[in-house]
């Protein structure tokens, strides 16, 4: 244990350098804030999804589902007639929008109130006082959670307008569901309970159910009951535990969430380097004092504890600040994260932002742990040297010079090890990030050598700008290499992180742009409004379809149907296309090719690249798909490029679909306008032709492309926000590291002032030196940033989502990085230069 006086000495040192301490605390705080915010946002979104799933699932243990998430209602009827199980309830669930409150999505749960009792307490239990006659009448009626009703400004007896796939309905609110607990209230937020027939009408599911729910005891009797139900199920229907669907949906966002967490950790790693830099600096500055303490009999262990104690103080203060900032930031980020989930995966609405103690505890452990981890190497360094040499600073510089060749070799070996890890087979994302970290360390290790080389090369340039002062400024960078190299390496890492993420987003966007340019070939796209952008399985009504196909000026029309099917035992997206000469140009293949027109077309499908990656399915493999006529095996004829969904999709021709599924609906239609006709004119006439029919979205090629890129940008907003935060951490890093370095040179500058350097020359000296260091950090960050981007694009993205991306970078990102470093560095020089130029040399010389 360190003594009170040692701790006091240490504390006074920190107080004597308030600016440095404040910037270090801010560095930790920002890193922790980003990690906590992302964690809270992810947790809130997942929790909201889990609660809404549980609200619907209730106490059901199993459910019977059909293909395309639709089950013939006769399955339920037969089950009832069969009499093998009493506790069975039909369910329809889906989503509608509330036009009166744009952006609000309501989850519709259709139930049979007569059998609901054992399943869900809120849906019409016997003692609820619900007027069953009205609830089950032909007029659309429903129950709404009290909280939702309040937020919509309606009450019992009012009407609520809802819309589904472009059609509007007015639902009378018969009653409000009052929940006993806060959790139940949250689970039922935006839930509307209606009678099963009302749900069928609203969601256009005549004769269909979403599923039949069952309560089967977990016993031997239960197992045999399960078996007996399974035996009587018709083709295409299957029984599964209720939790499995929720789990599958939660897994969809696994890679998405994991990458957000990893990116947020990157901000913490940058923060760690800043801590490393700060602690190293504080030790270098106190080398003489540490030496005195050692001479007085303070042991290495006590010095080590002292330094870690300081780091602990900074880490704790920074972490506490970071937790508060994280909660504030998280409330903003949760909207971005849920928006991305809504765009890409499924409908989820977060009503309340959960500040879980577990997230805060993790943030606390990470913040303090990262700070201590970053402080250990410099603390060890401070205590490993013999007491006799600790007092001599030149020893440190000499030692660094001596080990540079060794450092270069170790760094190269670390880089080789990193690439070795990246080349390992398998898709481990944590391993990929470990390799990324090793690459960062390798570049950091190469920095001292690079600083020496660059100073040698650019000393004449600085001399040109600043004469003898310029030359001194350049030389000063090398003579204090032990401090400057650490600062430059820290800045390089902070800035390269911003380049890496920036180039990754850029590459992704340009790849998607190219993909959209060949995928979207038609002139007009029509679909009913849907709730999830990437998968619109709404149905175009047949009368609308007829108008569209036969409209004057339309040269060709191709339909598309999207549906969710069970393939390989997993819920998967199915895209059904109508082949044709123009349509076929929109698909490019990575493996295999088109299968339409093949003799065995009816037994073939193609899969998207992410699907192929996710489930390791390639040309020649087969997939079992639950069709309306039972489980059918399809062979894979091709793997096509697709950037619409990381979940992957299976594509089949309309002909194949109709051969295996009873569905004849279409989800959208693309129109090719006759040559010479004005597209806008055709759209106008189509709108006139569709008046009074189903509401549809009609978008020109350009507007759909723009809408797609808007969604892309929206889903990457959270990434861009993270990048901006990393830029902020980097900026603070540059500022604190260089400012500390210059402040530490007070004595050196005082000697120069004593020897005739004017205050103006001090300004010049400090500014040139910080500018030179910032410029070097910016320059070094370019190769590291590009390597990080390469790994993010070709390894981590591949292993997470399976997309083939083209690496694209704009010079703007690189210029921005160098400018960021340079501006921050110059700013960092302002205060020390001002302070040094005003300081009286005599005082500074005395202030040992």
């Amino acid at each position: 244990m360190t003594t009170r006086l040692l701790r006091l000495s240490s504390f006074r040192y920190l107080l004597k350098h308030p600016l440095l301490m404040a910037l270090s605390i801010l560095g930790v705080a920002l890193g922790v804030a980003v990690v906590v915010a992302i964690d809270l946002a992810n947790t809130s979104a997942t929790e909201a999804f889990r609660l809404s799933s549980e609200a619907v699932t209730g106490r059901a243990t199993h459910s019977i589902t059909g293909s395309r998430d639709l089950l013939d209602e006769r399955v339920y009827r037969d089950l009832r007639l069969n009499g093998s199980i009493r506790e069975a309830a039909p369910i329809i669930d889906g989503y509608v929008s509330a036009p009166g409150d744009p952006g609000r999505t309501l989850q519709v749960i259709g139930v049979d109130p007569l059998v609901e009792g054992p399943f869900r307490a809120y849906t019409g239990a016997a003692d609820s006082g619900l007027d069953l006659g009205q609830f089950m009448s032909a007029r659309p009626t429903g129950l709404l959670s009290a909280f939702t009703a309040t937020s919509l400004g309606i009450t019992e007896g009012d009407s609520l307008e809802v819309a589904f796939e472009g059609k509007r309905f007015v639902v009378s609110i018969l009653g409000l569901i009052n929940s006993e607990s806060e959790q139940a209230a949250r689970a039922l937020d935006n839930v509307m309970v209606v009678d099963i027939s009302t749900a069928q009408n609203l969601l256009r599911m005549d004769g269909k159910l979403s599923r039949v729910e069952l309560i089967i005891p977990d016993s031997e009797g239960g197992a045999s009951l399960l078996q007996s139900i399974e035996n009587v199920l018709p083709e295409g229907a299957q029984i599964e535990p209720s939790a499995s669907k929720t789990d599958t949906l939660a897994q969809m966002t696994r890679a998405f969430s994991l990458n957000l967490v990893a990116l947020s950790l990157l901000a913490l790693v940058v923060g760690m380097f800043l801590i490393y830099n700060t602690v190293t600096f504080s030790i270098v500055q106190r080398r003489a004092m540490i030496g005195r303490l050692r001479a007085l009999g303070v042991t290495r262990r006590e010095i080590f504890q002292l330094i870690l104690g300081e780091a602990l103080l900074i880490g704790t203060l920074g972490t506490i600040l970071g937790l508060f900032a994280g909660v504030a930031l998280g409330t903003g980020l949760v909207q971005l994260v849920t928006q991305s989930i809504n765009d890409l995966y499924y409908v989820v609405r977060v009503r309340s932002f959960d500040v879980s103690l577990w997230s805060l505890a993790k943030g606390m452990a990470l913040g303090i742990g990262a700070t201590l981890l970053a402080a250990i190497p410099p603390a060890r360094e401070a205590t490993s040297a013999p007491a006799s040499s600790v007092m001599r600073r030149s020893e440190e510089e000499t030692k660094l010079y001596r080990i540079i060749p060794k450092l270069v070799w170790i760094s190269l070996a670390t880089a080789v090890a990193a690439f070795g890890l990246l080349a390992l087979p398998g898709n481990s994302i944590p391993l990929s990030y470990t390799a990324l970290l090793l690459l960062i360390l390798a570049f950091a290790g190469l920095t001292p050598g690079a600083v020496i080389l660059f100073t040698r090369w650019f000393k004449p340039v600085l001399s040109l700008f600043g004469g003898v002062v310029g030359r001194m400024a350049a030389q000063g960078t090398v003579t204090s290499l032990s401090r400057t190299a650490v600062a430059i390496a820290s800045l390089m890492i902070a800035i390269s992180a911003t380049i890496g993420v920036g180039v990754m987003v850029n590459s992704f966007r340009s790849t998607v742009e190219v993909w959209l340019s060949y995928t979207l070939q038609a002139d007009v796209y029509i679909s009913p409004p849907g709730l999830v952008f990437r998968r619109n399985d709404a149905t175009v009504s047949p009368d609308v379809e007829a108008v569209l196909r036969n409209a004057p000026g339309v040269a060709a029309a191709y339909s598309v149907r999207t549906a969710e099917v069970t393939a390989g035992g997993r819920p998967s997206d199915l895209i059904v296309v109508e082949p044709g000469p123009q349509r076929d140009q929109g698909t490019r293949f990575k493996e295999g090719g088109r299968i339409w027109g093949d003799a065995d077309e009816l037994e073939k499908v193609v899969v998207s690249e992410p699907y192929s990656f996710r489930y390791d399915v390639h040309v020649g493999d087969s997939i079992d798909i639950a069709t309306d006529s039972g489980l059918k095996t399809f062979s894979v004829g091709g793997v096509y490029y697709d950037y619409g969904s990381d979940l992957g999709a299976i594509m089949m021709s309309r002909k194949t679909y109709e051969a295996h599924f009873d569905d004849r609906g279409i989800s959208g239609i693309s129109l090719y306008v006759e040559p010479g006709k004005d597209v806008e004119e055709v759209i106008r006439s189509l709108r006139i032709g569709l008046e009074g029919k189903q509401e549809v979205l009609m978008r020109s090629n350009r507007s759909l492309r723009e809408a797609s890129l808007d969604v892309f940008d929206r889903t990457f907003t959270v990434t861009i926000v993270l990048r901006l935060l990393a830029v902020l951490v980097a900026f603070i890093g540059v500022l604190s590291a260089l400012m500390a370095l210059q402040l530490e040179r007070a004595r050196e500058l005082a000697v120069m002032r004593a020897n005739g350097l004017t205050p103006r020359q001090v300004w010049k000296y400090v500014t040139l030196q910080t500018g030179f260091m910032g410029w070097m950090a910016g320059l070094f960050s370019i190769p590291l940033g590009l390597v990080l981007a390469y790994v993010l694009i070709f390894v981590i993205n591949q292993r997470s989502f399976g997309w083939t991306l083209q690496m694209e970078w704009s010079p703007a990102i690189l210029i921005q990085a160098v400018l960021l470093a340079l501006v921050a560095a110059l700013l960092a020089g302002v205060y020390p230069a001002w302070k040094m130029s005003r300081a009286k040399p005599a005082e500074a010389l005395r202030d040992e």
């Binding site: 003594t3 009170r4 006086l5 040692l6 006091l8 000495s9 240490s10 006074r12 040192y13 004597k16 003489a288 004092m289 030496g291 005195r292 303490l293 050692r294 001479a295 007085l296 009999g297 303070v298 042991t299 290495r300 262990r301 006590e302 013999p386 007491a387 006799s388 005395r846 202030d847 040992e848």
Partner: protein, 237 residues
């Protein structure tokens, strides 16, 4: 000289070699030295002759290349770095030429630090330490930080710090080297009182003639060889 007593410090066959790149520099080889309790030994030698190195070796700050240093029954050279440090803070007081006070501790705190490190800071000892501070004339500056003191005052604090925990041996490296004549004289008076009143064992590396006059023995370190000299044989001092 009390040569019949058991020596407090016995240096036996001590060698120190520094490696400087590819070359080796031998500071001294096969050196022997005894320091007896209550004895004041002055060490002379040009800059770079190895005086500070010898003090660092005896205090355990540095490690010998070969040879042994005994402190009573304890073989210092056989101790680990950690044990040497613990031994140093218990048994040795050091006065440096450049004072080496801790800038973030006040005068009184600098004084009390060695005792606190030893875990022996009682009220009685605190009072005694402040008594030493009074003796060096700086009790009224006990709450000042070192950078507010003059060089002479700083060295007096360093002197008081080296004495406060009552070490067995005091090592001083040019204690008056950075001081003007008047201040050096003040420091010398304190040293003089210590030697005669408290019979402390001291090894002082110095050129100060006034200290030479107080010495029981004068040793000269030249080209790695330690020889005893008489004060009258020393020219130019």
């Amino acid at each position: 000289m009390e040569t019949k007593k058991e020596p407090l410090v016995r240096v036996s066959n001590l060698t120190k070699v520094y490696r400087e790149g590819e070359t080796e520099r031998v500071v001294f080889s096969g050196m022997n030295l005894d320091l007896h309790p209550g004895e004041l030994v002055v060490l002379l030698g040009r800059s770079g002759s190895g005086k500070s190195t010898l003090l660092n070796l005896i205090s355990g700050i540095d490690e010998a290349t070969t040879g042994k240093i005994f402190f009573g029954e304890v073989e210092l050279t056989a101790l680990s770095e950690n044990d040497r440090t613990l031994f140093r803070r218990e048994s040795i007081g050091i006065i440096f030429q450049s004072f080496n006070l801790i800038p973030t501790l006040t005068v009184a705190e600098n004084m009390l630090l060695p005792m606190e490190l030893n875990g022996r800071l009682s009220e009685e000892r605190r009072a005694k330490a402040l008594g030493v501070l009074e003796e060096v004339g700086l009790l009224n500056r006990q709450d000042s930080y070192p950078d507010r003191l003059s060089g002479g005052e700083q060295q007096r604090v360093a002197l008081a710090r080296a004495l406060a925990h009552e070490p067995l041996l005091i090592l001083a490296d040019e204690p008056t080297g950075n001081l003007d004549l008047k201040t050096a004289d003040q420091v010398m008076q304190i040293l003089h009182r210590l030697i005669h009143d408290e019979k402390r064992t001291m090894l002082i590396a110095t050129h100060d003639r006034d200290i030479l006059n107080l010495a029981d023995r004068i040793l000269s370190l030249k080209e790695g060889v330690l020889t005893e000299v008489k004060i009258q044989d020393i020219a130019g001092l």
